[in-house]
């Protein structure tokens, strides 16, 4: 089977490209303190000590719960709000549309470093500082421009006439939406969900500036406290182990949603 073989080779290239640095992190996480800096790709002595260290305090577990909760809620809200706005932008004609598109792009463009200290002041005054909503709100805000842009790009390419055709064939408005439009919009929506989730999960800048206790500290910030200082220098093994652990939710999230980005949904939809 030459076709299968060809794809197999290509797949292997992709996997190697993506995974070598990841395997390197895993290798660091299994190394003992003594062999950590020997420069070997494969550990000479294997140990689970690093994993034991990170789970021995609640700090990491608590941060993991915060991260999962905050990222999921922010993703859900951002995707819903983004879908509503993108539907309006790509389907409806109303004044102020290009203003909205322009403003959301401007927000995406402003260097976030300079927004952190004013945000900190606002959150201190409104009592949002060091709470879940205090992180969820900025995440929604900075994910929305990407969500709106991605989703409107996809909604634009959907053959909306199909909806009319379905209704002519006797489907109700609800059925037409559920059976025809929703499956077509799904690739865009799930792609957006994956990107937004990863953005929230990986954010360091907002998380370190807008939290102060375990109550809302997320994993990337908790990692930086492994040393007590701002640099990650010494506990490389523990940090690598934590990095491996916190990549698992991302893998699960992507595994779950990638199936919904399917090919050929529009098969037979467009004639000529």
């Amino acid at each position: 089977m030459p076709a299968k073989l060809k794809w197999g080779v290509l797949d292997a290239v992709v996997i190697v490209f993506a995974l070598i640095p990841v395997l390197w992190i895993m290798s660091l996480s299994f190394k003992t303190t003594a062999t950590l800096t020997d420069g070997n790709f494969i550990p000479r002595e294997w140990t689970l000590e690093n994993y034991r260290t990170i789970f021995s305090t609640d700090q990491f577990v608590r941060a993991l719960i915060n991260s999962i909760g905050i990222a999921l809620i922010a993703t859900l809200i951002a995707v819903v709000l983004g879908t509503m706005a993108a539907y309006a932008i790509s389907r409806l004609d109303f004044p102020g549309k290009s203003l909205l598109v322009g403003v959301s792009l401007l927000i995406a463009m402003f260097p976030q470093v300079s927004l952190v200290s004013p945000l900190f002041n606002i959150e201190r005054q409104t009592g949002l500082f060091d709470t879940w909503p205090g992180l969820i709100l900025p995440y929604i805000t900075f994910a929305l421009p990407l969500a709106i842009y991605t989703l409107s790009a996809f909604f634009k390419q959907i053959p909306w006439d199909l909806e009319k055709a379905a209704k002519m064939d006797g489907a109700t408005q609800g059925e037409a939406f559920r059976r025809v439009i929703a499956p077509l919009a799904a690739p865009g929506v799930f792609t957006t969900a994956i990107l937004v989730f990863i953005f929230c999960w990986n954010d360091f800048l907002f998380a370190i500036s807008l939290t102060s206790t375990e109550q809302s500290r997320t994993v990337p910030v908790a990692l930086s406290f492994f040393t007590g200082a701002s640099q990650f220098e010494d506990p490389t093994g523990a940090i690598s182990a934590a990095a491996v652990v916190i990549t698992i939710p991302i893998i699960l999230f992507v595994l779950f949603f990638q199936k919904r980005i399917v090919a050929g949904l529009t098969s037979g939809a467009v004639k000529g």
Partner: protein, 329 residues
């Protein structure tokens, strides 16, 4: 989605209510001569309603911080000398723009952006095609390919740094037997760009793959029956359908690349003239506590990014979201 009534009613009577609203709507249309048709007005109202939540959240969170940055950029304001605070108009801009340090960082940022975005577009497209079409282990490949993007940036950057540091890494002595690649400008920049490409190609690929999912299979089959080669099908059938997806991927990736920070911060900390503009803005704002100059740099980065975004949107014309010629309505 029902555009019609906002009248609350149980599911059983909703159809009836809808009919009634329909009737009353036609009635009003006959009664007074509105400048806008009723349907048009409904459309506007729905448009505003759907956009309002997103718009309110974005403006509420960012309006004050952004305006405050602009305001700070017009002042001499250094937290180490708070008594010297003074409104100086555009003096900060003159200071920054006449500084060679800024222009070096600007050049480095542009180099990183152009090289990484171009390479990522090509690689991302190839990756998207593989993830979209592969016959073997699709889920495995897709998930694997997205892992680099999913790893916390700072941690990934540290793994790159360890790999390239002599004594701790397996790659350090690969190219130059006894050199330290991260301490020389050329090789350090190459490694920074490589790390960027490795990390964010999946972002491009994912967006492009979702664009590929919209290409109708029939169209491809028809094209190949008409004797179109693979390259012709790619450029004449797939690319036009994917244009909006390509724009979004390019635009957001470029915006991100222009603000590159984490990778440089970890890999070289800006040594040997490898700082990006975001790095020096950060150094002034957070490290140096010079709010005036730091904010000025932020505004300048913002203006640069805005110009580039504007060019992209113009280049892509009607493929851009919200452009007036939306077609297909």
């Amino acid at each position: 989605m029902s555009i019609g009534s906002t009248t609350p009613g149980s599911a059983a009577t909703s159809e009836q209510t809808a009919q009634q609203t329909q009737q009353s709507r036609t009635a009003t249309r006959h009664r007074r001569k509105a400048p806008l048709s009723e349907g048009k007005r409904q459309e506007r109202k729905l448009g505003w309603l759907l956009c309002a939540p997103a718009a309110i959240v974005m403006v509420a969170v960012t309006a004050y911080p952004i305006l405050y940055s602009f305001w700070l950029s017009l002042q001499r304001y250094d937290l180490r000398f708070p008594a010297d605070r003074q409104f100086v108009w555009f003096e900060n801009y003159v200071t920054v723009l006449s500084n060679s340090y800024w222009w070096t960082a600007f050049g480095v940022t542009m180099l990183i952006t152009v090289v990484s975005v171009v390479v990522e577009l090509v690689l991302g497209m190839a990756l998207a095609l593989i993830m979209h079409r592969t016959l073997v282990g699709r889920g495995l490949v897709r998930t694997n390919a997205l892992i680099p993007y999913g790893i916390v940036t700072v941690v990934a950057a540290f793994s790159w740094r360890y790999a390239w540091t002599p004594g701790t890494g397996y790659l350090a002595n690969l190219i130059t037997p006894d050199g330290a690649p991260l301490t020389e400008r050329g090789s350090a920049l190459t490694i920074i760009i490589l790390a960027e490409i490795w990390k964010t190609t999946p972002f491009m690929a994912l967006l492009l793959m979702a664009g590929l999912a919209l290409v109708p299979d029939d169209l491809l089959k028809a094209a190949s029956m008409d004797g179109a080669s693979w390259w012709q099908r790619f450029t004449k059938v797939m690319l036009p359908v994917m244009k909006p997806a390509i724009l979004v991927a390019l635009l957001f990736r470029t915006l991100d690349a222009l603000r590159v920070f984490d990778n440089i911060y970890v890999l070289t900390a800006g040594a040997n003239e490898t700082s990006s503009v975001s790095m020096i803005a950060y150094n002034n704002l957070i490290r140096g506590l010079n709010l005036g100059i730091g904010s000025t740099m932020s505004v300048l980065i913002f203006i640069t990014v805005a110009i580039i975004a504007f060019i992209f949107v113009k280049l892509f014309g009607t493929a851009a979201p919200g452009s007036s010629d939306d077609g297909r309505r």
